[in-house]
Symmetry: C2
Subunit: 196 residues, 2 copies
DNA sequence: GCGGAAACGGAACGTACCGTGTCGTGTCGT
DNA sequence: ACGACACGACACGGTACGTTCCGTTTCCGC
Protein backbone atom coordinates (compact mmCIF):
# COMPACT_ATOMS: atom_id res chain seq x y z
CA UNK A 1 0.00 0.00 0.00
CA UNK A 2 2.88 2.33 0.79
CA UNK A 3 3.72 4.08 -2.39
CA UNK A 4 6.78 6.17 -3.12
CA UNK A 5 9.33 7.39 -0.59
CA UNK A 6 10.79 4.36 1.13
CA UNK A 7 11.52 5.38 4.67
CA UNK A 8 11.05 4.48 8.30
CA UNK A 9 10.73 8.13 9.16
CA UNK A 10 7.05 7.94 8.40
CA UNK A 11 4.72 9.27 11.06
CA UNK A 12 2.58 6.43 12.35
CA UNK A 13 0.44 8.99 14.13
CA UNK A 14 -0.47 10.73 10.87
CA UNK A 15 -1.07 7.42 9.14
CA UNK A 16 -3.59 6.27 11.72
CA UNK A 17 -5.30 9.65 11.84
CA UNK A 18 -5.71 9.61 8.06
CA UNK A 19 -7.20 6.12 7.93
CA UNK A 20 -9.49 6.89 10.83
CA UNK A 21 -10.70 10.17 9.36
CA UNK A 22 -11.26 8.57 5.97
CA UNK A 23 -13.59 5.96 7.46
CA UNK A 24 -15.34 8.47 9.70
CA UNK A 25 -16.04 10.86 6.86
CA UNK A 26 -17.21 7.95 4.73
CA UNK A 27 -19.77 7.06 7.38
CA UNK A 28 -21.08 10.55 7.90
CA UNK A 29 -21.20 11.92 4.35
CA UNK A 30 -20.85 8.89 2.11
CA UNK A 31 -17.94 7.94 -0.09
CA UNK A 32 -18.78 10.33 -2.89
CA UNK A 33 -18.51 13.36 -0.67
CA UNK A 34 -15.25 12.33 0.95
CA UNK A 35 -12.40 14.39 -0.47
CA UNK A 36 -8.69 14.40 0.09
CA UNK A 37 -9.00 17.92 1.39
CA UNK A 38 -11.63 16.92 3.91
CA UNK A 39 -9.59 13.95 5.10
CA UNK A 40 -6.56 16.19 5.52
CA UNK A 41 -8.53 18.79 7.44
CA UNK A 42 -10.25 16.23 9.68
CA UNK A 43 -7.04 14.37 10.42
CA UNK A 44 -5.09 17.56 11.07
CA UNK A 45 -2.69 16.68 8.32
CA UNK A 46 -1.34 18.31 5.19
CA UNK A 47 -2.71 17.20 1.83
CA UNK A 48 0.88 16.72 0.78
CA UNK A 49 1.30 14.05 3.42
CA UNK A 50 -1.60 12.05 2.01
CA UNK A 51 -0.38 12.39 -1.55
CA UNK A 52 3.09 11.38 -0.44
CA UNK A 53 1.95 7.95 0.72
CA UNK A 54 -1.16 7.16 -1.24
CA UNK A 55 -1.95 7.77 -4.90
CA UNK A 56 -5.66 8.40 -4.38
CA UNK A 57 -8.60 8.53 -2.03
CA UNK A 58 -9.51 4.98 -3.05
CA UNK A 59 -6.12 3.68 -2.00
CA UNK A 60 -6.48 5.24 1.44
CA UNK A 61 -9.85 3.62 1.97
CA UNK A 62 -8.68 0.30 0.56
CA UNK A 63 -5.99 0.16 3.20
CA UNK A 64 -8.48 1.04 5.93
CA UNK A 65 -11.04 -1.44 4.66
CA UNK A 66 -8.57 -4.29 4.28
CA UNK A 67 -7.58 -4.05 7.93
CA UNK A 68 -11.22 -4.22 8.97
CA UNK A 69 -12.18 -7.08 6.67
CA UNK A 70 -9.38 -9.34 7.82
CA UNK A 71 -10.57 -8.95 11.39
CA UNK A 72 -14.22 -9.40 10.54
CA UNK A 73 -14.17 -12.60 8.50
CA UNK A 74 -11.76 -15.12 9.96
CA UNK A 75 -11.73 -18.55 8.37
CA UNK A 76 -12.58 -21.27 10.85
CA UNK A 77 -12.63 -25.05 10.48
CA UNK A 78 -15.09 -26.74 12.82
CA UNK A 79 -15.32 -29.83 10.64
CA UNK A 80 -18.74 -28.84 9.31
CA UNK A 81 -18.25 -27.18 5.94
CA UNK A 82 -21.82 -25.91 5.80
CA UNK A 83 -21.60 -24.19 9.16
CA UNK A 84 -18.19 -22.71 8.41
CA UNK A 85 -19.30 -21.28 5.08
CA UNK A 86 -22.37 -19.78 6.69
CA UNK A 87 -20.19 -18.17 9.35
CA UNK A 88 -17.78 -16.79 6.81
CA UNK A 89 -20.34 -15.39 4.38
CA UNK A 90 -22.38 -13.97 7.25
CA UNK A 91 -19.27 -12.16 8.48
CA UNK A 92 -18.70 -10.55 5.11
CA UNK A 93 -22.36 -9.61 4.69
CA UNK A 94 -22.51 -8.15 8.16
CA UNK A 95 -19.41 -6.03 7.62
CA UNK A 96 -20.83 -4.67 4.38
CA UNK A 97 -24.11 -3.85 6.05
CA UNK A 98 -22.66 -1.39 8.57
CA UNK A 99 -21.23 2.05 7.89
CA UNK A 100 -18.60 3.01 7.16
CA UNK A 101 -17.54 -0.28 5.64
CA UNK A 102 -20.39 -0.88 3.23
CA UNK A 103 -20.20 2.57 1.64
CA UNK A 104 -16.42 2.46 1.74
CA UNK A 105 -16.21 -0.81 -0.15
CA UNK A 106 -18.83 0.32 -2.60
CA UNK A 107 -16.77 3.40 -3.29
CA UNK A 108 -13.60 1.40 -3.70
CA UNK A 109 -15.30 -0.90 -6.19
CA UNK A 110 -16.47 2.14 -8.10
CA UNK A 111 -12.92 3.38 -8.52
CA UNK A 112 -11.66 0.11 -9.93
CA UNK A 113 -12.93 0.80 -13.40
CA UNK A 114 -10.83 3.88 -13.95
CA UNK A 115 -7.88 3.03 -11.73
CA UNK A 116 -5.90 0.03 -12.92
CA UNK A 117 -3.42 0.09 -10.06
CA UNK A 118 -6.16 0.13 -7.46
CA UNK A 119 -7.90 -2.78 -9.18
CA UNK A 120 -4.70 -4.80 -9.15
CA UNK A 121 -4.06 -3.96 -5.52
CA UNK A 122 -7.57 -4.95 -4.48
CA UNK A 123 -7.33 -8.29 -6.23
CA UNK A 124 -3.85 -9.09 -4.99
CA UNK A 125 -4.23 -7.91 -1.41
CA UNK A 126 -7.84 -8.62 -0.64
CA UNK A 127 -9.79 -10.78 -3.06
CA UNK A 128 -7.37 -13.43 -4.31
CA UNK A 129 -5.96 -14.35 -0.89
CA UNK A 130 -9.43 -14.80 0.54
CA UNK A 131 -10.59 -16.81 -2.44
CA UNK A 132 -7.57 -19.06 -1.94
CA UNK A 133 -8.45 -19.42 1.73
CA UNK A 134 -12.01 -20.36 0.83
CA UNK A 135 -10.84 -22.91 -1.70
CA UNK A 136 -8.49 -24.33 0.92
CA UNK A 137 -11.35 -24.76 3.37
CA UNK A 138 -13.45 -26.45 0.67
CA UNK A 139 -10.57 -28.75 -0.19
CA UNK A 140 -10.25 -29.86 3.40
CA UNK A 141 -13.98 -30.65 3.36
CA UNK A 142 -13.27 -32.64 0.22
CA UNK A 143 -10.64 -34.64 2.09
CA UNK A 144 -13.23 -35.42 4.75
CA UNK A 145 -15.66 -36.66 2.15
CA UNK A 146 -18.17 -33.85 2.57
CA UNK A 147 -17.67 -32.74 -1.03
CA UNK A 148 -17.05 -35.03 -4.03
CA UNK A 149 -13.47 -35.25 -5.35
CA UNK A 150 -14.09 -33.73 -8.77
CA UNK A 151 -16.05 -30.70 -7.57
CA UNK A 152 -15.39 -27.31 -9.16
CA UNK A 153 -14.24 -25.40 -6.09
CA UNK A 154 -13.41 -22.04 -7.71
CA UNK A 155 -16.88 -22.00 -9.21
CA UNK A 156 -18.34 -22.72 -5.80
CA UNK A 157 -16.58 -19.68 -4.37
CA UNK A 158 -17.97 -17.48 -7.13
CA UNK A 159 -21.46 -18.84 -6.52
CA UNK A 160 -21.13 -17.95 -2.85
CA UNK A 161 -19.62 -14.50 -3.20
CA UNK A 162 -21.45 -13.61 -6.40
CA UNK A 163 -24.85 -12.97 -4.80
CA UNK A 164 -23.20 -10.97 -2.02
CA UNK A 165 -21.57 -8.65 -4.55
CA UNK A 166 -24.73 -8.63 -6.65
CA UNK A 167 -26.83 -7.30 -3.81
CA UNK A 168 -24.17 -4.92 -2.62
CA UNK A 169 -23.52 -3.17 -5.92
CA UNK A 170 -27.22 -2.99 -6.77
CA UNK A 171 -28.00 -1.78 -3.26
CA UNK A 172 -30.55 -4.48 -2.67
CA UNK A 173 -31.29 -5.47 0.94
CA UNK A 174 -28.53 -7.61 2.38
CA UNK A 175 -29.11 -11.29 2.96
CA UNK A 176 -30.42 -12.37 6.35
CA UNK A 177 -29.05 -15.48 8.05
CA UNK A 178 -31.73 -17.73 6.65
CA UNK A 179 -31.07 -16.62 3.10
CA UNK A 180 -27.37 -17.17 3.59
CA UNK A 181 -28.05 -20.66 4.90
CA UNK A 182 -30.21 -21.43 1.87
CA UNK A 183 -27.53 -20.09 -0.44
CA UNK A 184 -24.81 -22.21 1.15
CA UNK A 185 -27.08 -25.26 0.99
CA UNK A 186 -27.72 -24.77 -2.69
CA UNK A 187 -24.06 -24.31 -3.52
CA UNK A 188 -23.08 -27.43 -1.62
CA UNK A 189 -25.91 -29.36 -3.26
CA UNK A 190 -24.80 -28.27 -6.69
CA UNK A 191 -21.37 -29.73 -5.99
CA UNK A 192 -22.78 -33.00 -4.69
CA UNK A 193 -25.52 -33.63 -7.21
CA UNK A 194 -24.61 -35.59 -10.32
CA UNK A 195 -24.60 -33.94 -13.73
CA UNK A 196 -27.59 -34.58 -15.93
CA UNK B 1 -35.69 8.57 -18.00
CA UNK B 2 -37.08 11.86 -19.32
CA UNK B 3 -36.97 14.29 -16.47
CA UNK B 4 -38.60 17.66 -16.22
CA UNK B 5 -40.21 19.63 -19.03
CA UNK B 6 -42.92 17.49 -20.54
CA UNK B 7 -43.02 18.30 -24.21
CA UNK B 8 -43.07 16.88 -27.68
CA UNK B 9 -40.96 19.78 -28.86
CA UNK B 10 -37.86 17.91 -27.78
CA UNK B 11 -35.16 17.60 -30.40
CA UNK B 12 -34.72 13.93 -31.25
CA UNK B 13 -31.59 14.88 -33.12
CA UNK B 14 -29.95 16.31 -29.99
CA UNK B 15 -31.10 13.36 -27.90
CA UNK B 16 -29.51 10.82 -30.21
CA UNK B 17 -26.31 12.86 -30.52
CA UNK B 18 -26.00 13.05 -26.73
CA UNK B 19 -26.48 9.32 -26.16
CA UNK B 20 -24.12 8.52 -28.99
CA UNK B 21 -21.42 10.89 -27.76
CA UNK B 22 -21.74 9.64 -24.20
CA UNK B 23 -21.05 6.05 -25.27
CA UNK B 24 -18.27 7.08 -27.65
CA UNK B 25 -16.45 9.10 -25.00
CA UNK B 26 -16.91 6.27 -22.53
CA UNK B 27 -15.17 3.92 -24.94
CA UNK B 28 -12.26 6.19 -25.71
CA UNK B 29 -11.46 7.73 -22.31
CA UNK B 30 -13.32 5.58 -19.81
CA UNK B 31 -16.32 6.47 -17.72
CA UNK B 32 -14.39 8.43 -15.12
CA UNK B 33 -13.10 10.92 -17.65
CA UNK B 34 -16.43 11.48 -19.33
CA UNK B 35 -17.89 14.82 -18.29
CA UNK B 36 -21.10 16.60 -19.13
CA UNK B 37 -19.06 19.34 -20.72
CA UNK B 38 -17.25 16.87 -22.95
CA UNK B 39 -20.49 15.19 -24.00
CA UNK B 40 -21.99 18.57 -24.83
CA UNK B 41 -18.96 19.61 -26.87
CA UNK B 42 -18.75 16.30 -28.72
CA UNK B 43 -22.46 16.22 -29.47
CA UNK B 44 -22.54 19.87 -30.57
CA UNK B 45 -25.06 20.63 -27.90
CA UNK B 46 -25.42 23.06 -25.04
CA UNK B 47 -24.81 21.80 -21.50
CA UNK B 48 -28.14 23.29 -20.63
CA UNK B 49 -29.88 20.92 -23.01
CA UNK B 50 -28.39 17.91 -21.27
CA UNK B 51 -29.30 19.18 -17.82
CA UNK B 52 -32.79 19.94 -19.07
CA UNK B 53 -33.52 16.27 -19.80
CA UNK B 54 -31.20 14.28 -17.55
CA UNK B 55 -30.22 14.84 -13.93
CA UNK B 56 -26.69 13.50 -14.27
CA UNK B 57 -24.08 11.85 -16.44
CA UNK B 58 -25.07 8.50 -14.99
CA UNK B 59 -28.65 8.95 -16.09
CA UNK B 60 -27.56 9.69 -19.65
CA UNK B 61 -25.48 6.55 -19.81
CA UNK B 62 -28.16 4.47 -18.11
CA UNK B 63 -30.55 5.38 -20.89
CA UNK B 64 -27.98 4.55 -23.55
CA UNK B 65 -27.05 1.29 -21.86
CA UNK B 66 -30.63 0.18 -21.31
CA UNK B 67 -31.41 0.46 -25.01
CA UNK B 68 -28.39 -1.68 -25.83
CA UNK B 69 -29.03 -4.32 -23.17
CA UNK B 70 -32.60 -4.94 -24.17
CA UNK B 71 -31.47 -5.65 -27.72
CA UNK B 72 -28.55 -7.82 -26.63
CA UNK B 73 -30.24 -10.22 -24.22
CA UNK B 74 -33.65 -11.28 -25.48
CA UNK B 75 -35.42 -13.97 -23.51
CA UNK B 76 -36.21 -16.99 -25.60
CA UNK B 77 -38.10 -20.20 -24.82
CA UNK B 78 -36.93 -23.17 -26.83
CA UNK B 79 -38.29 -25.63 -24.30
CA UNK B 80 -34.79 -26.39 -22.98
CA UNK B 81 -34.25 -24.33 -19.83
CA UNK B 82 -30.52 -25.06 -19.72
CA UNK B 83 -29.92 -23.90 -23.26
CA UNK B 84 -32.06 -20.81 -22.81
CA UNK B 85 -30.28 -19.76 -19.63
CA UNK B 86 -26.91 -20.25 -21.30
CA UNK B 87 -28.03 -18.08 -24.21
CA UNK B 88 -29.29 -15.37 -21.93
CA UNK B 89 -26.32 -15.22 -19.60
CA UNK B 90 -23.92 -15.38 -22.52
CA UNK B 91 -25.68 -12.40 -24.08
CA UNK B 92 -25.23 -10.34 -20.94
CA UNK B 93 -21.61 -11.38 -20.48
CA UNK B 94 -20.81 -10.63 -24.10
CA UNK B 95 -22.34 -7.16 -23.93
CA UNK B 96 -20.35 -6.35 -20.80
CA UNK B 97 -17.14 -7.54 -22.41
CA UNK B 98 -17.14 -4.98 -25.22
CA UNK B 99 -16.56 -1.24 -24.94
CA UNK B 100 -18.32 1.01 -24.46
CA UNK B 101 -20.91 -1.06 -22.67
CA UNK B 102 -18.74 -2.73 -20.06
CA UNK B 103 -17.13 0.47 -18.85
CA UNK B 104 -20.43 2.30 -19.12
CA UNK B 105 -22.26 -0.16 -16.91
CA UNK B 106 -19.39 -0.26 -14.47
CA UNK B 107 -19.56 3.50 -14.21
CA UNK B 108 -23.30 3.46 -13.73
CA UNK B 109 -22.97 0.91 -10.94
CA UNK B 110 -20.36 3.12 -9.31
CA UNK B 111 -22.79 6.04 -9.18
CA UNK B 112 -25.50 4.05 -7.45
CA UNK B 113 -23.96 4.42 -4.04
CA UNK B 114 -24.21 8.17 -3.95
CA UNK B 115 -27.22 8.68 -6.20
CA UNK B 116 -30.43 7.28 -4.77
CA UNK B 117 -32.58 8.24 -7.73
CA UNK B 118 -30.27 6.57 -10.20
CA UNK B 119 -30.23 3.43 -8.08
CA UNK B 120 -33.99 3.34 -8.00
CA UNK B 121 -34.20 3.93 -11.74
CA UNK B 122 -31.71 1.18 -12.51
CA UNK B 123 -33.57 -1.33 -10.40
CA UNK B 124 -37.00 -0.37 -11.67
CA UNK B 125 -36.17 -0.01 -15.33
CA UNK B 126 -33.43 -2.54 -15.87
CA UNK B 127 -32.80 -5.08 -13.15
CA UNK B 128 -36.19 -5.94 -11.69
CA UNK B 129 -37.97 -6.40 -15.02
CA UNK B 130 -35.26 -8.71 -16.25
CA UNK B 131 -35.23 -10.66 -13.01
CA UNK B 132 -38.98 -11.08 -13.37
CA UNK B 133 -38.51 -12.27 -16.93
CA UNK B 134 -35.93 -14.78 -15.79
CA UNK B 135 -38.18 -16.05 -13.02
CA UNK B 136 -40.99 -16.34 -15.53
CA UNK B 137 -38.84 -18.47 -17.81
CA UNK B 138 -37.83 -20.66 -14.86
CA UNK B 139 -41.46 -21.02 -13.85
CA UNK B 140 -42.40 -22.24 -17.30
CA UNK B 141 -39.62 -24.81 -17.01
CA UNK B 142 -41.16 -25.77 -13.70
CA UNK B 143 -44.50 -26.35 -15.42
CA UNK B 144 -42.77 -28.64 -17.87
CA UNK B 145 -41.26 -30.64 -15.05
CA UNK B 146 -37.65 -29.60 -15.73
CA UNK B 147 -37.42 -27.98 -12.28
CA UNK B 148 -39.05 -29.23 -9.06
CA UNK B 149 -42.20 -27.41 -7.86
CA UNK B 150 -40.77 -26.04 -4.63
CA UNK B 151 -37.55 -24.64 -6.09
CA UNK B 152 -36.33 -21.22 -4.92
CA UNK B 153 -36.41 -19.37 -8.23
CA UNK B 154 -35.34 -15.90 -7.06
CA UNK B 155 -32.30 -17.48 -5.44
CA UNK B 156 -31.53 -19.24 -8.70
CA UNK B 157 -31.51 -15.92 -10.53
CA UNK B 158 -29.11 -14.45 -7.99
CA UNK B 159 -26.84 -17.45 -8.33
CA UNK B 160 -26.78 -16.96 -12.10
CA UNK B 161 -26.28 -13.21 -12.19
CA UNK B 162 -24.15 -13.00 -9.06
CA UNK B 163 -20.98 -14.40 -10.59
CA UNK B 164 -21.43 -12.18 -13.64
CA UNK B 165 -21.57 -9.08 -11.46
CA UNK B 166 -18.78 -10.44 -9.28
CA UNK B 167 -16.37 -10.71 -12.18
CA UNK B 168 -17.47 -7.46 -13.72
CA UNK B 169 -17.05 -5.26 -10.68
CA UNK B 170 -13.75 -6.88 -9.72
CA UNK B 171 -12.57 -6.64 -13.33
CA UNK B 172 -11.77 -10.32 -13.52
CA UNK B 173 -11.74 -11.97 -16.96
CA UNK B 174 -15.26 -12.56 -18.22
CA UNK B 175 -16.67 -16.06 -18.35
CA UNK B 176 -16.20 -18.06 -21.54
CA UNK B 177 -19.03 -20.17 -22.91
CA UNK B 178 -17.86 -23.32 -21.18
CA UNK B 179 -17.75 -21.62 -17.79
CA UNK B 180 -21.21 -20.23 -18.34
CA UNK B 181 -22.48 -23.70 -19.22
CA UNK B 182 -20.94 -25.13 -16.05
CA UNK B 183 -22.47 -22.35 -13.99
CA UNK B 184 -25.94 -22.93 -15.44
CA UNK B 185 -25.57 -26.66 -14.85
CA UNK B 186 -24.66 -26.16 -11.22
CA UNK B 187 -27.52 -23.77 -10.58
CA UNK B 188 -30.05 -26.14 -12.13
CA UNK B 189 -28.56 -29.05 -10.21
CA UNK B 190 -28.84 -27.15 -6.93
CA UNK B 191 -32.55 -26.72 -7.59
CA UNK B 192 -33.07 -30.37 -8.45
CA UNK B 193 -30.99 -32.05 -5.78
CA UNK B 194 -32.74 -32.85 -2.51
CA UNK B 195 -31.81 -31.09 0.70
CA UNK B 196 -29.51 -32.90 3.06
C1' DG C 1 25.29 15.57 20.94
C1' DC C 2 25.16 17.69 16.40
C1' DG C 3 24.19 18.56 11.58
C1' DG C 4 21.48 17.61 7.89
C1' DA C 5 18.15 15.07 5.32
C1' DA C 6 13.50 14.25 5.08
C1' DA C 7 8.73 14.20 6.56
C1' DC C 8 5.74 17.30 8.48
C1' DG C 9 1.59 21.19 8.71
C1' DG C 10 -0.13 25.20 6.52
C1' DA C 11 -1.29 28.22 2.85
C1' DA C 12 -1.72 29.41 -1.76
C1' DC C 13 -1.71 28.40 -6.59
C1' DG C 14 -3.85 27.34 -11.49
C1' DT C 15 -6.98 23.96 -13.61
C1' DA C 16 -11.14 21.26 -14.49
C1' DC C 17 -15.70 20.44 -14.08
C1' DC C 18 -19.74 21.31 -11.78
C1' DG C 19 -24.66 23.13 -12.00
C1' DT C 20 -27.08 27.51 -12.97
C1' DG C 21 -28.35 31.80 -15.26
C1' DT C 22 -28.96 34.77 -19.24
C1' DC C 23 -29.70 35.93 -23.91
C1' DG C 24 -30.85 35.86 -28.71
C1' DT C 25 -32.30 32.54 -32.31
C1' DG C 26 -35.17 29.34 -34.58
C1' DT C 27 -38.91 26.26 -34.87
C1' DC C 28 -43.09 23.96 -33.88
C1' DG C 29 -48.06 23.85 -32.20
C1' DT C 30 -52.25 26.30 -32.25
C1' DA D 1 -49.26 34.50 -38.07
C1' DC D 2 -47.96 34.51 -33.71
C1' DG D 3 -46.40 33.19 -29.40
C1' DA D 4 -44.42 29.65 -26.52
C1' DC D 5 -40.60 27.09 -25.78
C1' DA D 6 -36.50 24.25 -26.74
C1' DC D 7 -32.33 25.31 -28.61
C1' DG D 8 -26.89 26.84 -28.82
C1' DA D 9 -23.66 30.04 -26.82
C1' DC D 10 -21.46 31.91 -23.22
C1' DA D 11 -20.39 33.62 -18.49
C1' DC D 12 -20.74 32.89 -13.64
C1' DG D 13 -19.49 31.32 -8.70
C1' DG D 14 -18.37 27.18 -6.35
C1' DT D 15 -15.79 23.01 -5.24
C1' DA D 16 -12.13 19.80 -5.34
C1' DC D 17 -8.35 18.63 -7.71
C1' DG D 18 -3.08 17.96 -7.66
C1' DT D 19 1.10 20.76 -7.06
C1' DT D 20 4.29 24.06 -5.12
C1' DC D 21 6.46 26.84 -1.70
C1' DC D 22 7.65 27.85 3.01
C1' DG D 23 9.12 27.32 7.70
C1' DT D 24 9.12 23.70 11.40
C1' DT D 25 9.91 19.32 13.57
C1' DT D 26 11.69 14.80 13.84
C1' DC D 27 15.00 11.36 13.57
C1' DC D 28 19.27 8.95 11.42
C1' DG D 29 24.24 8.84 10.96
C1' DC D 30 28.46 10.61 12.04
Amino acid sequence: MITSPSSVRRSERSRRAILRSALDLCAERGYGHVTIEAIAADAGVSKKTIYRWWPSKGAVLLEAFTDALIDATPFVDTGDIGADLRTHVAGAVKLLSVPPFGPAYAGILSELHHDDRLAQQLREQLVDPRVEEAIGRLRSAQDQGQIPPGADLPLAVEMLYGPVYYRHVLRKPVQDEETIATLVDHVLRSLRAPGY
